[in-house]
Amino acid sequence: MELLTNQILAGIATGSIYACMALSVVMIYQAIDHLNFAQGEMATFSAFVAWQLMRWGIPYWPAFILTVTISFAAGVAIERGLFRPLANASILTNVAGFIALFAIVNSVTGMTWDFTIKEFPSPFGSSQFLGSELINSHQAGMIGVTGLLLAFLYCFLGFTKVGLAMRAAVSTPESARLIGINVGWMVALGWGLASSIGAVAGMLIAPVVFLEPNMMGGILVYGFAGAVLGGLSSPAGAVLGGLLVGVFENLIGTYVPGAGNELKLPIALALIILVLRFRPDGLFGRNVVERV
């Protein structure tokens, strides 16, 4: 029983990182109808920025906040500079853009900080959380920070004027323009937020997987899986999907005989495909109700 609780909690901890990645992907997907393959590389780059800032002597939390801010600005800049000009281009052109972004960010990261593994500090330490055997303090920290982040986003999107305008702009751009919303900037804001969320995920997972230019590769796959499982049309669904994938992964690694570390990824993905076989819009994706 303790093993089960332990595995579920650890699953939620890594799942919260998948949830963040899933959420970033969904935010951009809703804004421009494309999947950002480079989301993971952008998050890795952000984690390196944080690492560099700390190297220069800035304490953890100021570096954390500075990194989130820089990532936000970078997200906006990428939208303005690269994807806004591609807004009316074909799907394949956009896909090529994302692949280019992936390759560029990845090699710039490698060139700047090289490919050797680096240690990344955790502000929460790695002792047992509140003396409990079930979860360590960094895992608790991952869950806590993600929880705060989600609460912030929920309030921002649900209850502020800008949040309302953003949701309107991505759901029905033409109508949004007709009520005076600058849709272009709302999309850029979405990119900024997605990039910031990715930065938080990158900084939280870096102490666990160690910092290196390809560290988010596997994590983004789980993030995509979470997003698709929850439903690409639903930010809340993406978060739940990410958490579920984290828990699935751990339970399969522990309880399926012979699965171990090698097979837990394929088994988790196979489960997801099974779910999508019966619910193509994802678990929480809405088949939009509309009367004509």
Binding site: K161, S171, S175, A176, L178, G180, V289
Partner: protein, 237 residues
């Protein structure tokens, strides 16, 4: 009365295809003007040009301000509310959120809340459904919502694109009654594009008839609806 909107030599294009061939229109402040014509005559295109949503040449002045150099989202803020064809409600948001969105470019939060209550007084059905997703409303209710949302801008000019489309006759009567009231009480100038000429001419004070991208007739609404020749050849009733 002075003209609030002036359109001169408007030519609009969809790609290589020219849809409007030099339209001239004037809207008197405080009037209700209707633009009538068959499917494909260029009614929607005219409205879309006014809001700079399509490529065009010519002059469009609102209260003396040239609109063609302004983006859609900026010119809307001058007080031009456009209810597009198909209503353009935010279907996945609640009725109340839709109303708030109508006022998103305003900065007087308190007055906005008051205006929402006024809309609920105009449209009691919307109040009942305030926290429901707009997409679940009936067609008539959605059209009411679209009008209410447009009014939340406190517009000086309201453009309506076939508001009667797909609605039951009784609901259309209701809607046009409300439009007349809004025009009378809130002094909003209204331009309504319609295929339902009979009803539109009842509501309007001025009318234009458009055919294949050209204005073929204009004048006081009463005159046009009394002229049997025009009615038979252009309006089909």
């Amino acid at each position: 009365m002075s003209d609030i909107l002036e359109v001169r030599e408007l030519r609009a294009y969809y790609g290589q295809v020219q849809a409007l061939h030099g339209i001239d229109l004037s809207l008197r402040e405080g009037s209700v003007t209707t633009l009538l014509g068959a499917n494909g005559a260029g009614k929607t295109t005219t409205l879309r040009s006014i809001c700079n949503m399509i490529r065009f040449t010519g002059a469009i002045r609102f209260d003396g301000i040239e609109l063609s150099t302004r983006s859609t989202e900026k010119l809307v803020r001058l007080g031009i509310a456009h209810v597009p064809q198909g209503r353009g409600t935010f279907t996945r948001m609640t009725v109340e959120e839709n109303l708030r969105l109508g006022a998103i470019s305003r900065n007087d939060e308190r007055a906005v809340t008051g205006d929402i209550d006024r809309m609920y007084a105009h449209f009691p059905k919307l109040k009942e459904r305030r926290s429901q997703q707009a997409g679940t409303l009936s067609g008539g209710e959605q059209q009411m919502l679209a009008v209410a949302r447009a009014l939340m801008l406190r517009p000086r000019l309201m453009l309506l694109d076939e508001p009667s489309f797909g609605l039951a006759p009784l609901i259309v009567r209701d809607l046009f009654g409300i439009l007349a009231k809004i025009n009378r009480e809130d002094k909003v100038t209204i331009m309504v594009v319609e295929q339902n000429a009979e009803l539109a001419l009842e509501l309007a004070s001025d009318a234009y008839v458009i055919e294949t991208g050209r204005i073929v007739m204009s004048g006081p609404a009463a005159e046009i609806s009394n002229n049997e020749d025009i009615r038979k050849s252009y309006l089909g009733y």
